[in-house]
Amino acid sequence: MKILVCITHVPDTTSRISFTNGDTEFDKSGVQYIIGPYDDYALARAVELKEQSGGTITVLNVGTAETEPTIRKALAIGADEAIRVNAEPTDSLFVANEIANVAKDAGYDLILMGRESIDFNGGMVHGMVGELLGLPSVSPVMTLDLDGDTAKMTREIEGGKETIEVKLPFVAGCQEPIAEWKIPNMRGIMSARTKPLNVVEPSSQAAATKLEKYEMPPAKGEVKMIDADNVEELVNLLKNEAKVI
C-alpha cells in the first residue's frame, strides 16, 4: 500500500491575523505554523492504515523552505518520506497541478488530504487532483476503512451521513472523526532526522489567479443581552434601534 498525504503549512488557529505592504501580504511575524488540522487527521488515519496493513506513507507539501519544520513533524508522526515542491502555494489549481504532477506516475493507492486548508479554506484541491489524475475524489470523509482494493467510507452530507464504497486508487478530503491527531513521540522525532525529504522544483504552470488585496472581516458588533421575559424590550430595540422590523 502506497499512501500519499498532502499537507498544508498554515498559521496556528490562535494566531492573530494582520496584513502588511498595503494589505497585499499576510504578516507572518510572530505567527506559529502547524500542519493543517484536517490534513493532520488524514495523516493520522494514514499512519493507522499503515499499522494495520503495512505500506509506505509519503507526505507532500507545496511550499517554500520555511515549511520544512512542519514537514519534519509529519515525518516524526509516522510518514516514511517527504516531498516538498519548492513553490509558493498561490492558489488551489496551482497546488492541485503540482500534486497531480508528483502523483501521476508514482502509483499511490490512496491520496489523502484535509477536506480544506484553514488559511484560505478553499476546499477544492482534492476535487481538482482527482480530476487531473482521472481518479474518483471523495470529501468530506469521516471514516475510512479498507477491505482489499475497496475502501468503505462515510461522508458528511447535508443533514446526515452517506456510506460509500470506492475502488482504489482514489483521492479523499478528510475530517474528524476519521482518526485522532497523533502527537509525535521522542523516538519518532529522532527517526525523522534521517528520513528523506526530497525537494523538487515545480512544473512550469503559472498561477491562474492574482492576489489584489486582503481585507479583515468586519469586527463583531456589540451584543446586547435582553432578559428572556422582556419581549417588549426586544421588539422595541429591533424596531427602533436596529430598525429591522
Binding site: P69, R72, I183, N185, M186
Partner: protein, 405 residues
Amino acid sequence: MSDKSNNHFAGKKAANDFFESPDFYVVDDLLTEEHLLIRASIRDFVKKEITPYVEQWCQDAYFPYDIVKKFGEIGAFGPTVPEQYGGGGLDYISYGLIMQEIERGDSGMRSTASVQGSLVMYPIYKFGSEEQRNKYLPKLASGEWLGCFGLTEPDHGSNPSGMLTNFKDMGDHYLLNGAKMWISNSPKADVAVVWAKNEEGRIHGLIVERGMEGFSTPETHNKWSLRASCTGELVFDNVKVPKENLLPNKSGLGAPLMCLDSARYGIAWGAIGAAMDCYDSARRYAAERIQFNKPIASFQLTQKKLSEMLTEITKAQLLNWKLGKMMDEGKATTAQISMAKRNSVHTALTIAREARQIHGGMGITGEYPIMRHMMNLESVITYEGTHDIHLLILGADITGIPAFS
C-alpha cells in the same frame, strides 16, 4: 480499576488549558528546530493527558498509574539514554525541555518521570553491566516497569553518607537489611535502585525487585504536596538479593550523587515550567479581573509582580540553557547544577506565591493551578538536596571549605 479511580479519567475536565510559554529574550533562537518540535509535542501531550485531570488527581491524592505507560510511549523516560536500550538518544537541552513541559503540568508528574529516567535508568545505564542494561532499561523506557531510587533514610536525609541500610555477602547472594524513606514511586515500583553499605562500609547500588522475600513498600499518606505522585518507604528485612543485581561499575557516595546531578538538572528546567504556568495564569487573570472599574493588570503593584516574574523566568531560562550546553559537553560541575536547581526552585516558589496573590481568593482554589504548584514546590525545594544544602555545595566550591559537618 475501581469505579472511584475510573472517575479520575471521566470526571470534569479542568478549564481549557491555553498555556503559552513566555520567551521575552527570544531564547527560542538558541534552540534547534528539533528542540522546538520536542517541546511542542510534550506540551501537546501534557494538555491532552495531564492538565485536564491533574487537579482532580491532586485533590484526591490519586496516582494515575496509567500515566506510566503513556510517558513510556511519548518517550519521557530516559530521553538521554541511548536508543539501543530503549531511550531517546537525545541531548540534555531536549531532556530539560521535556522536564519543563511536564512540570508545567505538575511537579508530581515530573517527579515520576525524572525518578524513572535520572535516578533509575541512569544508574543502571552508567554503572550497570550489559546484562543489567538489557534486562531493565527497555522495560523501564517503555513504562512496562516503574522504578524508584532509595537513598534517603528516616535518620539520614541531607547526610546520606551516614546511611544504615547494609548488605552482607552470603556467598551465593547478598543479604540486605534496612529502610528507606520518602521514596517517590515506591508503592507502585517494580524495581528499586537501592544504595546500601557493604561490610566495609562502602556504598553500592543494588537492584531490588518487587516480590523478593522480605521487601515491602508501605505508602506515605497525608502529603499536602506532590499529591498526584506516590511516595513511600522501602523496607528490607533479610532480603536475599542475587549477586548479579549489584551495580558493578561504580561505588561510593559519588555514584548516587552522579544520579542526583542528572535529576537536579531536570528539576532546574522543570521548576521553571511550573513558574511559567503560574506567570501565564497570573497574566491572563490580571487582564480579565476588574476591580475599581479597571483590570487589575492596570495597577502598578500588579505590574511590578508580573515584571519581576518575567525577569526571573528569563534569567533562569538562560541559566538553564547554558547549563544544558555544559551537560552536553560533559563539563557541568555539581556546584553549577546546584546553583541552577536552587535558583529555579526558589524562583518558582516566589512566583507561585506572587501569582497566588494576583489571583486573589480564586488563587486558593483548584480552578487555577497556582496553589497546587505552590504546594508541590515545597517538596521540590527539599528533595534532591535542600535549598540550604545547595548553598553549602556552592559555598564549598567558592571557599574550598565544606561547611556540612
